[in-house]
């Protein structure tokens, strides 16, 4: 599903050029659950942003579903993104002014799903995430665990092929964290490819494969059994 080759990304300030990704190559197959680990500043988030087409690489190739996307413009990337990729963030990133239901509905609005269909699909996914009773609440009225469930619901409501999760349990206690990991595992078992950035060895154990990064390069790959 994903194949990146010799990917490079630099950050320039006035005097210093920092290499975030240094000729990184990797691939992810459809249906895989991959965890990306490494110390702070190793390039995990940069990689995830490029994979999610929120950012573009400076050099190298990124093939998504057999399409070269490395040099797509923003509009094309956005188009590909909204139909194929769901995001889960550490800090949830829900819109405070919208209710649970409306937050989850948002991706469907942007892909032009008709109203009746939207309601059906949002209710379906809220039910699955067991937060149906909270549908008319605002994000601030929910616990962290509940907010992340809403965020996951929003990520999957469009039935994306790929979910990118950036430390999804980082702001949660261990019990809520485990719940979230269970949810992601379930999704993966139903066929969604998942790439997750994490600091937690415990969370990483839920994945099939761990890619360890250091200074923008792959240093090790562990296949989980």
């Amino acid at each position: 599903m994903i194949k990146i080759t010799n990917l490079e990304k630099f950050y320039r300030t006035e005097e210093v050029e920092t290499i975030a990704l240094n000729k990184l190559s990797m691939h992810v197959n459809t249906g895989e659950f991959v965890a990306i680990m490494g110390p702070s500043g190793c390039g995990k988030s940069t990689l995830l942003n490029i994979l999610g087409m929120l950012d573009d690489p400076d050099e190298g190739s990124y093939v998504f579903n057999e399409i070269e996307v490395a040099h797509f413009n923003e509009r094309k990337r956005a188009d590909l993104r909204k139909h194929n990729i769901g995001f889960v963030f550490q800090s949830f990133n829900l819109i405070d002014e919208l209710t649970v239901f409306e937050n989850v509905e948002l991706p469907l609005i942007y892909t032009g799903v008709p109203t009746a269909e939207r309601v059906k699909r949002v209710e379906e996914v809220l039910d699955k995430m067991q937060i149906m009773h909270r549908r008319n609440h605002y994000p601030q009225q929910l616990s962290g665990g509940q907010q992340q469930r809403v965020a996951i619901a929003r990520a999957v409501v469009n039935k994306p092929k790929l979910i990118l999760a950036d430390e999804p349990t980082g702001n949660l206690d261990s019990s809520n964290g485990n719940d979230v990991m269970e949810l992601l595992t379930d999704l993966n078992e139903q066929g969604t490819t998942i790439i997750m950035v994490t600091h937690s060895e415990h969370d990483a154990r839920y994945s099939h494969r761990i890619i360890r990064l250091l200074d923008g390069q792959t240093v090790m790959e562990n296949i989980m059994v």
Partner: protein, 811 residues
């Protein structure tokens, strides 16, 4: 999708109630003020346009230059109207109006003073659109002693509008037949009369004199463009009709007259230009000037701009708080187009709400505004026709302008940058917002200085030594009612305790009669050396009663037989005549009429005194030369009183009056009130200015308040850290205020010279004026700084006093 935008917008606005209120109310306040001014300007511009033939109506003016004196008259010669109509086929009709003064009109046993009366030719109803309720518009004013009254007067005297054929009695002895009832003349008319008396009643109206102008004369042309043709034919026309009279009275042909540097011309003023662009001698009523229309339009525009700037500043400031929303929406698949649309729609929606509030506010405030401006503006269905589309346009323009910055700026964010919070710290929108704040204060300071200068000038007018003393002078205006007994009345009043002096004359410095005559300096009767001064007939008590001072010579005296040919001139006249010592010099008063051989008809006068200059025109004008002649003029009686019991004295004066003139009320006023009345328009402008300035400052401060709040919010973490490290409240307040105060200072430096320049221009209109002192500018600057500082302090002190632990945790 649209619903989703509205929902987000509404909830986001609701969450930030304070900001939203400042934002919407500021804009609404600005718009409401602007609307009121627009009503005012539209009203001013709509004068005389009620006439369906307005574009084809022109007034004929006379332009007379005699030696050094050039006077423009809004009136023309008695036979002009009918001659123009007869002479030029493209003159469809012509009409003359002549102010009739005031009369006592009988109602039952009472006599009521009515002063809005005019003599008018029968053609008035063909030229002007004064619609008849009953009566025939073609014949109503043909017969002598006919009168056409308006609806209000009909209801006042006859309780209904069915009064055709009824008789009205003027001054107890003159009966007029009501031949027509018209709708009241619209307020937006340069003349406003209740009674139209047939011109044929006045014998003088049939006069064939071509060298005298006292009839307001209007022509109705077949086509508007004919006015150039008509104006071009005036020289030949005058040659043909007034040449002979000029020859016999002045002993010169028109060509010789012009060769001597004088001239005698006619010109035209379009009817629709009269209210705003005509301020000649002999206007039918006080007109306005375009100057105030421009000034008010500029103020309206400024206030609207200030309000819009606020709106933009607060919207952009607040929008950075929505960066996260933008990021999330982008990650979820929103395109840039969607986001631009969302922010624009939101902004237009807010503007719409503000506009609705503004309209409601303007309608509620209209009566107060009318009181303030002395107008009677009413909103009609007609006004909605232009109001609604222009308001919709305003909503779209302001909404898009205010929304465009956040729309295009925020939608261009890279979503990851936003979500990581990289932007909210760096986004201060520095340049543009600073510029806008400077602009707001620039305008505010301009208005403050403008207000101060206007008030200084008004105060100067009110306290200036006018050369006579207007306080404690009572003027009986309808002295003529006493007929032969004026002297008896004067004598009786002189004996009352509390009455110091009395003088009998209609020629008073405030609101009195005016009369000009030609005086020749020597017996050559050289036109170039002629003086064209005010010539007032007064008695020996005039100068003491008015408390005027003599510069040279003596006052008139009852005991001097020769004083019948004596004159007293003012300093301006003395200067013009150029005598080293004017006392006992002779001047020659032209009496008009035919010449005796080569010499004009003159009266020799000797100068007995020079009175110190006194103001008898508006202070906008220089003091003109004036010649006082000795005689009895029963135009009015001015009484200098000296008593604390003015009501008691008034009672006694009324008793004397009633014993001499039963049935007719005494009509009197106080000279200082008359004086104030002649500056009412300036005072009104002053008051309006103060209110608009205050509003502009309030709106600008609302914006500053919001921005300061935003700046403090943005720097909460910085403030927290600084406090933890030991900064005290005053340091933090100074730090937060500094940036804004700097902007206000820039505004002061740029606005002051500009305001000085503009206000100096305004002052040029006054022959007697204040100078703009440095302290006016300094006061405006310090005032603006103080106001700005207090506004900012609210927010900065609040931020500085906050518990740093709390502000650090909030990050």
């Amino acid at each position: 999708m649209f619903k989703n935008y509205i929902k987000t917008a509404y909830r986001s606005l609701y969450k930030n109630k304070g900001f939203t209120a400042i934002n919407i109310l500021g804009l609404a306040l600005g718009l409401a003020t602007c609307l009121l001014i627009v009503f005012y300007v539209v009203d001013e511009l709509s004068y005389d346009r009620y006439n369906t033939k307005a574009s084809r109506i022109f007034r004929v003016n006379e332009d007379l230059k005699l030696g050094e004196n050039n006077v423009q008259y809004a009136v023309a010669m008695p036979p002009l109207a009918k001659t123009l109509k007869a002479e030029y086929p493209y003159v469809e009709d012509a009409v003359r109006l002549k102010n009739a003064g005031s009369f006592h009109v009988k109602k039952g046993d009472a006599n009521i003073i009515e002063s809005k009366m005019v003599y008018a030719d029968a053609s008035i109803f063909n030229v002007f659109t004064l619609l008849m309720i009953s009566g025939s518009s073609s014949s109503a004013l043909v017969e002598p002693n006919s009168v056409v009254i308006n609806e209000t007067i009909a209801k006042k005297y006859f309780k209904n509008t069915n009064a055709i054929g009824k008789i009205m009695t003027f001054n107890n002895n003159w009966n007029l037949k009501v031949t027509g009832i018209i709708h009241d003349v619209p307020k937006q008319s340069h003349f406003n009369y209740d009674f139209f008396i047939s011109m044929s009643t006045v014998p003088d109206s049939k006069s064939n004199e071509w060298l005298r102008s006292d009839y307001s004369t209007y022509v109705l042309l077949k086509e508007a463009k004919d006015h150039t043709k008509l104006a071009a034919s005036f020289p030949a026309f005058l040659q043909k009709f007034s040449g002979a009279q000029m020859q016999s009275e002045l002993g010169q042909s028109i060509a010789q007259f012009e060769k001597g540097g004088s001239h005698f011309r006619l010109n035209l003023t379009a009817l629709t230009d009269i209210h705003l662009n005509s301020n000649l001698s002999g206007e039918l009523g006080p007109n306005s000037t375009t100057q105030y229309v421009y000034i008010f339009s500029a103020i309206a525009l400024f206030i609207l701009l200030i309000a819009c700037v606020n709106f933009m500043n607060l919207s952009t400031a607040r929008s950075s708080n929505r960066a996260k929303e933008v990021g999330v929406r982008k990650v979820m698949g929103s395109s840039r187009k969607h986001l631009i649309f969302q922010f624009l729609a939101e902004s237009i929606l807010i503007t719409f709400v503000a506009t609705v509030i503004a309209i409601v506010a303007a309608v509620i405030l209209l009566p107060f505004f009318n009181q303030l401006s002395g107008k009677e503006i009413v909103l009609t269905v007609d006004s909605l026709k232009w109001l609604v589309p222009s308001l919709l346009a305003i909503v779209l323009v302001i909404g898009s302008l205010a929304g465009s910055y956040p729309a295009f700026f925020l939608s261009a964010f890279q979503p990851i940058d936003v979500l990581k919070g990289k932007l909210s710290a760096g986004f201060k929108g520095g340049g543009l917002r600073s510029f806008l704040v400077v602009f707001q204060f620039f305008v505010s300071i301009l208005l403050i200085i403008g207000t101060l200068v206007i008030y200084n000038q008004l105060n100067f007018i009110q306290t200036k030594n006018l050369g006579y003393n207007r306080s404690q002078v009572l003027v009986v205006k309808n002295l003529g009612e006493l007929n032969q007994q004026t002297n008896v009345f004067k004598q009786a009043l002189a004996e009352l305790p509390g009455v110091k002096e009395t003088t009998m004359t209609g020629f008073l410095p405030t609101n009195g009669w005016r009369n000009t005559r030609i005086y020749f300096k020597d017996a050559t009767y050289d036109q170039k050396k002629s003086l064209f001064p005010q010539s007032w007939q007064v008695d020996a008590d005039y100068i003491p009663t008015m408390d005027m001072k003599m510069a040279q010579g003596r006052n008139f005296s009852k005991d001097m037989q020769t004083d019948s040919s004596a004159v007293i001139i003012n300093e301006a006249a003395a200067k013009f005549l150029g005598f080293a010592d004017p006392i006992n010099k002779t001047v020659y008063q032209s009496l008009g009429g035919d010449r005796k051989g080569t010499t004009p008809n003159v009266k020799e006068c000797h100068i007995v005194g020079v009175v110190k200059d006194f103001h008898f025109n508006s202070l906008r004008e220089k003091i003109d030369p004036i010649v006082l002649t000795y005689g009895q003029n029963p135009g009015a009686l001015a009484i200098r009183v000296s008593t604390s019991n003015i009501t008691g004295l008034m009672g006694q004066i009324k008793d004397k009056w009633n014993s001499l003139s039963p049935g007719i009320q005494i009509d009197y006023s106080f000279m200082d009130q008359d004086f104030d009345a002649s500056y009412r328009s300036e005072q009104r402008i002053g008051r309006i200015f103060v209110i608009f300035t205050a509003l502009a400052i309030i709106i600008a401060c609302l914006g500053l308040f919001g921005l300061a709040a935003y700046a403090a919010e943005q720097r909460t973490k910085e403030i927290g850290i600084r406090k933890v490290l030991g900064a005290d409240v005053s340091v933090i307040v100074a730090m937060l205020s500094k940036d804004f105060i700097k902007l206000v200072c820039i505004a002061i430096v740029t606005a002051s010279p500009f305001a000085w320049f503009v206000m100096n221009k305004w002052l040029q209109d006054f022959a007697y004026r204040v100078t703009i002192h440095w302290w006016v500018i300094a006061a405006a600057g310090v005032g603006a700084l103080l106001i700005a500082f207090v506004t900012i302090s609210f927010q900065s002190i609040k931020a500085a006093l906050a518990n740093p632990v709390k502000s650090l945790r909030s990050e």
